[in-house]
Structure formats: structure tokens, C-alpha cells
């Protein structure tokens, strides 16, 4: 590579007081400062929403900081300029691949900077370049294969080659191991070490502490948009890093459970799903939830939560194992069967699954109540009864709305979620799945929703709470299960001593206690 003439010493990238506030008021980064040493493998750790991806977007030239400076080779640069990354030799492998499936490997790699002969693409030259690239970096892929015929690991190689194809000096990898199997991860790490030995600087973003430790020399920990610290990994132990990631130990008031001997409502026995997407993949999950019990699921995003919810709402079927709800076998049950059997479900994706933005509050509030004689007269809807019912729901859940005829998307996120909860929790459900019930919701609405979830449990529902908000988890759950790579790695009773920091090692895959 021809990048040795650059300034040989000093950090390749320095962040100096970088802050980012989005136009809608979201503060993603506050005063972030740290250096990335030339030729090192530098890891960035932090929970979901800690500001990792915003930082990478700034470094890759997709966003500009609202305050502060980014220095490359010691000189301040304006990142949000066209082709910023290309000019400074920065390549990025995104967590979700950006390959065009119907194009060949060569076509994907040269896309955007094709070698040309007059107005035509010089295909033979392009192929030569790609072959040379695969040999130089020892990343073997067939340059003529169609991308969608390749395995995920091979597609990732193509992504890396694409990122390396433009005299790259700094390679960013965003959660590169999420889609790989252990041997593939080992192979990837070996290639990355080789690249580093050849002078490349690598920025590695990961949730998984053992991977960070296996690969990187230095780690920068982000929490809630701030840099908690940058430290050589040799100088810190896992406990310290975990504490840095999870934050201080604060105790929260916990839910008081009324009965511990209530009958078991939901029972999963060794349930597994098959899927290419790790978020949908669960392995050998056994769990039971009693009436008046809230079981909280912790785990970094994509650890199998979506698969678990899919199996419990009829959107996916287990490949093996059995699912029972109130003594009825639900292993092959479809979505309508689950609802009939008494499932209430607050989906994480409020507007795409929890309601329909384009219809009125009344329509949203009575959706799915087919056959309710109080609201229907034959096929006809009773408008007066519906208005009364919906006004009652709006009052009970303190929804701030102008009227029942307003569209759902005229409400704020918290009020929309309250209306959805009012609908789902009507008619004492047997099982309640609350998936990120208060994400993006204001404090008052969150408190109300917490109260209603607790109330549903007291009324005899088995509750599965999936949340990235550990405070919420500890506040509500009677028992906490930690998911990692689709498996339950910890099954903990929630007691006063349990803290977010105590959950950290399980969530980051360092320990198991199942």
C-alpha cells in the first residue's frame, strides 16, 4: 500500500469534544474525545443507544458533528463532505450488508468507482483488480460468483474487500461477528490481525467483551452518548469494563409479588427456531411463567428476543420443542389462535404492528374485537357504543387526545402506546408480552404503563417483559432471564441486590448461570 508517506507518528484519528444533537432534540453524543492510534485495533463498546453508531457515522462522513472537531492525521477536517471517506482512506463494513444480491462479487466491489475505458466499464481490468485484492489481503472469494449465492461469511469477506478497495488506511467494522459462526469468527479475526500487521488501523465495534479482548489492544467505552473512558485492554479486567459499560449501581424500587404459588400459565420446553438471522434464532429455551409473575428478558439487541416473541405470538413456529399456554399445546398455533387463547401483546414496533397510523383512534382501539356484541349489531358497528368505550379507554389510560376521530399518528409516542395498551389489556389476558413497552415514551406515560403491566399480572396474567431498559427490568420483573446468542445464559431471581452491573457479564457473554 502506498500510505507510508503519510505522517508516520501521532494518532490517525482524534475526536475533540464531539457532540451531536439531532434536529428532533435527541442528544446522541456529548463531548466525546479520544484518539485512535495508527496501526492498532481499537474497540468501541457500549449498550444500544450509547452513541456508537452516531460516532461511526460522523467518522464515515454520513453526519456532521454539532460541536467539536474530528482530526485526521492531526488536521481538523469537515467530515460531512462528499466522498469524505474515500478521500481519507476510510472503509466501513456495516452490520447489515450493503451488497447488491444480483450482482457478482467483482461488480459489487467496484460499484461506485468502476475502472473505465471511455464510457464503458473495463471489466477485465476490474476483475484483475479484484483478484489482486483477494490475493493481497488473503481473502479468498470467487470474483465471478453472484453475491446472493454466497454464504454469509463469504458475503462479509466481499464487504471487507469492498471497504479495502480504495487505498483504505482505516477499516471500521460494525458488529461484524453478529452473523458468523465461531470458526468463521476465528477466521475473520486472523484476517483482521494480518491486516493490522500490514499497517491497517482497525476500528471494531462490538457488544461482546470476550471478542473485544481477543482482538483489540485499546477499548473506548461509551455510555449514554459520553465517553466513559479509553484504556488499553491489558490494564483493565472484565469487571471494570462491565461497570464502565453498564453504569453506576443504583437501586430501584421493586415490584411486590402477591402470590408465588399461582398455576403455571406459559411453559416452553426446549424450544429452538431455525433462522439465518440471529435475532430470530433461539436455542433450547425452557422457561415457565406463572400467573402473577413477570419474567424479564435482558440481553443485547439481536440475541434472540425477536425469535422468542415470534414463537409466542404465532408469527414463527419452533423447529423443535413444545409451547403450552394454559395447558393447551400452542407449538403450531398461528397468530389468531394465540389471541383467542388470551395473548395480549405490546409490540416493539408501535406504528407498524401495534396500530395503524392512518386510521382513527376509535378504529385502532376497537381493532380485533370482532364479534363483540356490545360493539356490533350483526355486521354493523354501533357507533355510539364504540365512542363511549373508546372515551372510557382514553380516560382510564390518561391518553392526551383531541377526540376519538383523530388519527393515531396525531398522538405523541407515549399517548399512542397508552392507547395500544388500553386495547391489548382489555379483557384480562392470560399472557402479556410487553416488548420495549416504554421505549421513547415520556416518564409519566412510562410510569402509567408500568402500573398497568403490574396490574395485569395481579389480575392473573403471566407477563413476559422484553426491554433494553435495565431500570425498567429491575423495577418490574420478578425473575430475570438473560439471553445471549439465542440461549438463556442466566436465570436470576430479582432481589434488592441485583444491579445492571451484575447483569452485564451475562449480557456480554462472559458468564453463564442458567
Amino acid at each position: 500500500m502506498s500510505n507510508s508517506p503519510h505522517l508516520a507518528e501521532g494518532p490517525i484519528v482524534s475526536f475533540r469534544g464531539v457532540s451531536k444533537t439531532y434536529p428532533n432534540g435527541t442528544v446522541a453524543l456529548t463531548d466525546a474525545s479520544f484518539d485512535i492510534r495508527r496501526g492498532s485495533i481499537h474497540a468501541i463498546c457500549g449498550e444500544n443507544g450509547a452513541g456508537k453508531s452516531t460516532l461511526m457515522k460522523i467518522l464515515f462522513g454520513l453526519e456532521s458533528p454539532s460541536a467539536g472537531q474530528v482530526l485526521i492525521d492531526g488536521a481538523a477536517v469537515d467530515t460531512a463532505t462528499p466522498d469524505f471517506a474515500g478521500k481519507h482512506g476510510i472503509g466501513m463494513v456495516h452490520q447489515h450488508f450493503s451488497l447488491v444480491p444480483i450482482l457478482t462479487v467483482t461488480e459489487n466491489i467496484i460499484l461506485g468507482h468502476e475502472p473505465r475505458r471511455s464510457i464503458f466499464i473495463d471489466r477485465s481490468k476490474a476483475r484483475r483488480q479484484v483478484v489482486e485484492l483477494t490475493q493481497r489481503f488473503d481473502l479468498a472469494v470467487d470474483p465471478d460468483a453472484r453475491t446472493d449465492t454466497l454464504s454469509v461469511a463469504a458475503q462479509q469477506k466481499v464487504e471487507i474487500l469492498k471497504a479495502l478497495s480504495r487505498d483504505t488506511r482505516l477499516l471500521i467494522l460494525d458488529e461484524p461477528t453478529a452473523v458468523l459462526s465461531p470458526p468463521e469468527i476465528e477466521e475473520l479475526f486472523n484476517r483482521l490481525r494480518d491486516l493490522c500487521a500490514a499497517g491497517m488501523t482497525i476500528l471494531f465495534i462490538s457488544h461482546k467483551l470476550h471478542e473485544v479482548r481477543a482482538l483489540a489492544e485499546t477499548v473506548t467505552v461509551l455510555r449514554a452518548g459520553r465517553v466513559v473512558g479509553t484504556t488499553p485492554l491489558a490494564e483493565v479486567d472484565d469487571t471494570t469494563i462491565t461497570r464502565m459499560v453498564m453504569g453506576r449501581d443504583v437501586d430501584v424500587p421493586r415490584r411486590q409479588r402477591q402470590r408465588t404459588d399461582a398455576p403455571v400459565v406459559l411453559e416452553l420446553d426446549r424450544v429452538s427456531t431455525r433462522s439465518r438471522d440471529p435475532a430470530d434464532r433461539i436455542e433450547d429455551i425452557s422457561l415457565s411463567i406463572r400467573a402473577d409473575e413477570i419474567v424479564g428478558i435482558a440481553g443485547v439487541d439481536g440475541s434472540g428476543q425477536r425469535g422468542l416473541v415470534g414463537v409466542l405470538s404465532g408469527l414463527m413456529h419452533p423447529a423443535s420443542g413444545s409451547v403450552r399456554l394454559a395447558d393447551a399445546d400452542m407449538s403450531r398455533a398461528a397468530a389468531p389462535d394465540w389471541r383467542k387463547a388470551g395473548l395480549a401483546y405490546l409490540p416493539a414496533d408501535r406504528y407498524a404492528r401495534g396500530g395503524t397510523a392512518a386510521l382513527s383512534l376509535a378504529d385502532n382501539a376497537i381493532a380485533g374485537t370482532d364479534g363483540d356484541k356490545a360493539l356490533q349489531w350483526g355486521p354493523f358497528l354501533r357507533r355510539g357504543a364504540i365512542r363511549k368505550r373508546v372515551q372510557q379507554m382514553i380516560a382510564d389510560y390518561a391518553v392526551r387526545a383531541g377526540g376519538t376521530g383523530e388519527r393515531l399518528d396525531s398522538l405523541s409516542g407515549g399517548n399512542a402506546q397508552k392507547l395500544i395498551a388500553a386495547r391489548e389489556l382489555a379483557g384480562s389476558p392470560k399472557l402479556l408480552i410487553a416488548d420495549q413497552p416504554t421505549r421513547g415514551v415520556d416518564v409519566a406515560a412510562a410510569a402509567l404503563l408500568h402500573g398497568r403491566i403490574d396490574l395485569a399480572a395481579r389480575d392473573g396474567a403471566a407477563v413476559l417483559l422484553i426491554t433494553a431498559d435495565l431500570d425498567e427490568l429491575l423495577r418490574l420483573a420478578d425473575r430475570v432471564l438473560v439471553l445471549f446468542n439465542g440461549k438463556i445464559v442466566a436465570d436470576l431471581q430479582n432481589h434488592a441486590g441485583l444491579t445492571p452491573a451484575a447483569l452485564g457479564p451475562y449480557m456480554l457473554g462472559l458468564e453463564t448461570a442458567a
Binding site: A334, P336, R353, G354, A358, D363, L381
Partner: protein
């Protein structure tokens, strides 16, 4: 409640304002090129209301487009962009004519039977693309567009080889027997009882869509498939029901048009009322109750344009130009979903709450 009514009124006022501006922008230059500019405006704007006969012409022109507009509304509401309405209209007309020519029916059963056959056969043009989408995920827009022409040429084949009257001067069917007709409502126009059917159909359609459980479920499936699957609604079944209902209505519209206006069937090209129906549906914001004024409004523009063409030296294509310009302005409803506009509304709401 008052706030949502206010928002609705604002939207309506803005729409009316835009339409007015567009009409002026197109008509004023045209009027200025005439010896009596005011006469042009008067004829176009007021002419259609000048006599009972002209008002009858508006109703007559709106009859088929009310029904095709209703059909398109139901289909779009289910979330499908199925353009089979045009093909259904054509097939419905053909099948009604074929029933009249080929079946020995007489008396009061004759006309309803022909309309029924027209509706059933016509619905095919909407059902096939709908089924291909539900079963195989094939694009209903492409399929319906292409199939419209396949049905047209199949229909012309039937007309030529089965229904053609060899003694007629051109390619047209045998005369439709006298029992197969709809009664005239107004002397001097071709206005027939079909207009009553169209009105009633739109009202029933609105009651179904907004007042029944299955109407609500169709609106849910159409506006958010993810929500529908969360609720466990039978999405494919609801989608197909809407395509069938839309197809039946469009086929019926074709049958009514042929029986109400013509003594022989002679369509050798797509008549275009289905396309207009799609325009009507968009103009009516896919609301069956608003389909009635939307169809009447387009018919009014058409009659006004016809009067200009008949009485002054104005090409009748000018109507097409005016209609197109208005459609462009109105369907740019996107403006009401524009972030800037929504922010404005939010600000107003914020001030209201602050007060």
C-alpha cells in the same frame, strides 16, 4: 373533535383554493384569446348549470365514473393498486350485451339478469390480478394493466365472431332486445335509472367501509399489513373479498352503461371510464361518500368543456388539459403529509394547548 373538524376544513379549503387557481391559470389565457373573454368563463363555469338538460348531462356523465370510482376506492382501501377496474368495466358491458343478444329472456328479469352476468364476468379482470398477488406475490399493478388489454382483445374477438351483426355497417353487435334497457329519467338527455343505482351503491359502499366490522378490517389490512397480522386478521381473504367486490361493481357499471345508453354494443377499445374512476377515487381520498361529489365535479368539468367546444372555437382537448392540471394539483395531496405542513399544524395545536 373540533380540532379535527378544523383540520378537515383547512384541508378542504386549501383543495378548493388550489382547484380554483388552476382553473383560472388554464382558462384565463384561453379566454383572452377569444373575442369575448367573459363569455368563455361564464360558459365554462356556469354553463353546465344553465338548463335542466345540461344538469342532466352532468349526472349522465357521472353515472359510470361514480361506480368505477367506488370500485377503485374499495380496491385501493384494501391496499392493492389493482387497475383492473377498466377491464372489468369493458367486460361487464360486453357480457351484458352478450346476455341480451344470446339469451331468450324477456320481461322484468331481463335487465337484472344482464347486469348480474355483466358484474360476474366483469369481476374477472379485478379478481385475476388480485389472486396472482395474494397467491404468488406478483405485482397486481403490472398484471392488471397488461390483462386489461388481454381482456379487451378477447372481448373484441367475441364481438367479431359471436355477437357481430353482419348487416350493420361497422363492427357492432346485433341490436339489444327492447326488454334489456334502463328507463329514461329526463326528456332530452340520456339520463337513465342507472344513476340511482350509482348513488345508492356509493352510499352503501360508504356505510360498509365505515360502518361495518368487515369494512373496518379491510381498512386495517390496507393501511397496515403488520397490524393486521398482529391482530390475526385473515389478510388474504379480506384482500380477495375487496378485489371481488370492486370487480363486481366495475362490471356492473359497464353493464349499466351499455344497457342504459346504447342499442348495440360497439366498444372496440377500452372505454376509459375505469381510468376516470381511478382518478375519482384519488380525488375522493378513497372515501365512498366523497366519490359522489368527485365524480360529479369531473363530469361538470367535462360538460363545461363540451359546451365551450360546441359554442365557441375552442378545441375539446382543452377539457383534458384542465382536468389534468386539476388532478395534478389535487393528487399532490402529498402536500398535506409534507413535514413542513405537519409542523405548522403541530405549532397551531401547541398554541391551542398553551392557551
Amino acid at each position: 373533535m373540533t380540532r379535527s373538524i378544523l383540520a378537515g376544513l383547512t384541508e378542504f379549503a386549501l383543495t378548493a383554493l388550489v382547484i380554483g387557481l388552476v382553473i383560472l391559470a388554464v382558462l384565463v389565457p384561453l379566454a383572452l384569446s377569444q373575442p369575448d373573454p367573459l363569455e368563455v368563463l361564464r360558459l365554462f363555469v356556469l354553463g353546465p348549470f344553465g338548463t335542466i338538460r345540461h344538469m342532466g348531462n352532468i349526472l349522465e356523465a357521472a353515472t359510470p365514473t361514480m361506480m368505477t370510482g367506488l370500485a377503485a376506492t374499495i380496491i385501493f382501501r384494501a391496499g392493492m393498486f389493482n387497475l383492473g377496474v377498466e377491464g372489468s368495466f369493458f367486460l361487464g358491458g360486453l357480457a351484458a350485451a352478450a346476455t341480451a343478444v344470446l339469451l331468450p329472456l324477456t320481461g322484468f328479469v331481463a335487465t337484472p339478469a344482464a347486469i348480474l352476468v355483466g358484474a360476474l364476468v366483469g369481476s374477472l379482470a379485478c379478481i385475476v390480478p388480485g389472486y396472482l398477488r395474494v397467491r404468488f406475490g406478483a405485482s397486481e399493478m403490472v398484471n392488471s394493466l397488461v390483462l386489461n388489454f388481454a381482456f379487451l382483445f378477447a372481448g373484441v374477438y367475441v364481438l367479431n365472431y359471436v355477437l357481430r351483426d353482419p348487416n350493420a355497417g361497422a363492427l357492432m353487435s346485433y341490436k339489444l332486445p327492447g326488454d334489456f334497457t334502463l328507463d329514461r329519467l329526463l326528456q332530452g338527455t340520456r339520463l337513465h335509472t342507472g344513476v340511482i343505482i350509482a348513488f345508492v351503491a356509493c352510499l352503501l359502499g360508504g356505510i360498509w367501509l365505515y360502518g361495518t366490522r368487515s369494512g373496518l378490517n379491510v381498512r386495517i389490512v390496507g393501511s397496515s399489513p403488520g397490524f393486521a397480522s398482529h391482530l390475526g386478521l385473515a389478510s388474504s381473504k379480506l384482500l380477495m373479498q375487496a378485489q371481488i367486490a370492486g370487480g363486481l361493481i366495475a362490471g356492473m357499471a359497464g353493464a349499466i352503461e351499455v344497457l342504459g345508453l346504447y342499442s348495440r354494443f360497439s366498444w372496440t377499445g377500452l372505454p376509459g371510464h375505469g381510468w376516470t374512476g381511478i382518478t375519482v377515487a384519488i380525488l375522493a381520498r378513497e372515501n365512498p361518500f366523497l366519490v359522489i361529489p368527485a365524480a360529479l365535479f369531473l363530469a361538470y368539468l367535462q360538460v363545461g368543456g363540451d359546451m365551450l367546444a360546441r359554442n365557441l372555437d375552442v378545441p375539446s382537448e382543452i377539457v383534458g388539459l384542465v382536468t389534468a392540471a386539476i388532478m395534478l394539483a389535487v393528487t399532490a395531496a402529498a402536500i398535506f403529509r409534507h413535514p413542513a405542513f405537519l409542523r405548522l399544524i403541530r405549532d397551531i395545536k401547541g398554541q391551542e394547548q398553551g392557551a
